[in-house]
């Protein structure tokens, strides 16, 4: 077992709005080990970005409220820390890669300065060393002619190159945890593949832990060791990447897997959809928040929130369907067929590597 880097316990984040209090994150718990990648997937509004921003304490207060729970980073709770204390952690221990490289870079500042700024702020390098290290970083993230780029402005670079600069900035102070919030969503597939390769490569070399937020299940399959599926501010299923993709238990995960065509899908069958839309988190529904969209919903789903049921040592799902007394609902046919087409005889799916 590797050492635990992050442990989030029963985190609640609320936002005060004119319409009422939005319960954006409703009791999220997970842990992250050194050197692993945890992917958080879910629709917009499911609370995945709020959760990751909360780790960096980037939730503005007000309107945000840390309504409960702990965020332990190396055993230290971040929630009660003030801004000054957090400034030492941000960029230094935890760094973030944002979605849009067009807006997350400062357009009026040269690229080199944006990288050295982080090092100087955290006294990670002397003024004279900083430049050499920044150039080295640009080289590491695969930017050609790093000396020349050092003195250029963001607008002189393409989208993919800009995202590499954002990654270089995030790595500048050698953080232990990297939070990537949809880092490739704004990029083309070919560039996306390059950036994902780069991130995996860096992780291997530096043993960085990564939290990867995305709604693209293809990307999740590519990068993740473990996956947490979020819905309406809660984690509804988590497990290793193989468990989530080849043995999904929650109907919402079935819906996500079924609604995305893969390159083998036939045009004759309709895509499986999840009917309806996510609940309003100002007044979350009683019981299971997914029940109104769940074709297999049981009576108890409308009464009582399901606990996390254990599927295996590493796999949990929050649905009453896993209760011993619940009817046995098989994985929908279309999803099962797809899983069968992926998993070939002799594939080592369940004992495969890690943790």
């Amino acid at each position: 077992m590797r050492p635990k880097l992050v442990e989030v316990k029963d985190l609640h984040i609320h936002f005060k709005t004119y319409a009422g209090i939005v319960q954006a994150v409703r009791g999220v718990s997970f842990e992250l080990y050194e050197g692993e990648t945890l992917a958080i997937v879910g629709e917009s509004g499911s609370g995945k970005s709020v959760t990751s921003n909360a780790l960096m304490k980037l939730i503005p207060q007000p309107p945000g409220i840390y309504a409960g729970g702990e965020i332990l980073f190396n055993g230290r709770d971040l929630v009660p820390l003030n801004d000054k204390e957090m400034a030492k952690i941000r960029g230094n221990d935890i760094a973030m890669i944002f979605q849009d490289p067009m807006t997350s870079l400062n357009p009026t500042m040269k690229i080199g300065k944006q990288i050295t700024e982080v090092m100087l702020q955290h006294n990670a390098a002397s003024r004279s060393d900083a430049k050499a290290r920044a150039v080295e970083l640009l080289h590491q993230v695969g930017i050609p002619m790093p000396e020349k780029r050092y003195n250029q402005y963001p607008h002189e670079l393409s989208g993919g190159m800009r995202q590499r600069v954002v990654i270089a900035i995030a790595l500048a102070a050698d953080p232990k945890l990297l939070i990537a919030d949809e880092p490739t969503t704004a990029l083309d597939v070919t560039i996306q593949a390059q950036i994902l390769e780069l991130m995996k490569d860096i992780q291997k070399k530096r043993n960085t832990s990564v939290i990867f937020i995305t709604h693209d299940l293809g990307v999740v399959a590519n990068v993740a060791d473990r996956v947490a599926v979020m819905y309406a501010g809660q984690i509804v299923e988590y497990g290793t990447v193989n468990e989530i993709f080849y043995n999904p238990k929650h109907p919402y995960t079935w819906g996500l897997l079924g609604s995305m065509p893969d390159l083998n899908s036939s045009a004759d069958d309709l895509l499986r959809t999840i009917p309806g839309s996510p609940p309003n988190l100002i007044s979350p529904p009683k019981g299971d928040a997914f029940a109104p969209r769940n074709e297999h919903a049981l009576a108890i789903d409308y009464e009582q929130e399901p606990p996390m049921f254990k599927v295996s040592e590493t796999h949990y799902a929050k649905t009453w369907l896993l209760h011993p007394d619940a009817p046995k609902i098989p994985v929908p046919l279309a999803v099962q067929q797809r899983i069968d087409s992926y998993v070939q005889e002799g594939d080592d799916v369940w004992n495969a590597k890690k943790f």
Binding site: V189, L196, M260, D262, V349
Partner: protein, 303 residues
Amino acid sequence: MERKKILEVKGLKQYFGTASNPIKAVDDISFYVYEGETLGLVGESGCGKSTTGRSIIRLYDVTDGEILFNGENIASIKARKDLKKFNKDMQMIFQDPYASLNPRMTASEIIGEAFDIHGMYKDKKERREKVAELLEAVGLSRLHASRYAHEFSGGQRQRIGIARALSLDPSFIIADEPISALDVSIQAQVVNLLKQLQRERNLTYLFIAHDLSMVKYISDRIAVMYRGRIVELGPADEIYNEPKHPYTKSLLSAVPQPDPLSERKRQRIPYTHEEVDGDVIRKETSPGHFVFGTAQQLQNWGI
């Protein structure tokens, strides 16, 4: 029987910038779309796929080339009266349902605007009825007519965009990345709706997108664009299973699949840009499957 070509594009060029230093967004492309089919147009951002769609529907004045729609060259139409006639038959669904709906108009005003322009109703009651029918056709309720855009979710807004495109009962719809701004579960709803409407109304789609899995799923044939040109065109299955052009191969090798086992073994095929010198020829490798390149290139690729 020869299938009817509803749209035929011949040597379309769309240049921007100055005449002395033009930016060749679309550089001499030719293709056709059969009636009732879906042609997918894929490529990276900046390859000219959206420009192609916008040129066809005459949002730009084309630099050169012919666009034959139902046999009539619409590239040269200048008179507003003639444009109006053709606009009735060709409509567009835009990418961003947040930006493409006027926030100061209700759903009924947005959908019914085209009725006003084309004078397509006798009285207010008929107009209201037509709007309600369209709302129901796209899976919304007639009670939604008086709501403003911000009162809808992203998926619902895109449904309004679709209802607006359908309002004049067109035969041809250009869908420019209609689902990329939507969530995965909502994407599936909208794609299913587009397919259902196509069956019910015998619509022809030009479907522009960069999400290759979705394009493969919805399209009958696919054209791959690269730097303003079409590099490969053929039946969807063939493009995916037997890509011939090195760029297509590279593009497909980069699409992540929801399958962790194969993702761990993924080998991306890089593509290095080749300057085109010489005449580009179109080679048919199997019926309806075309690869574009110079004679030398085609030989190098073993075609």
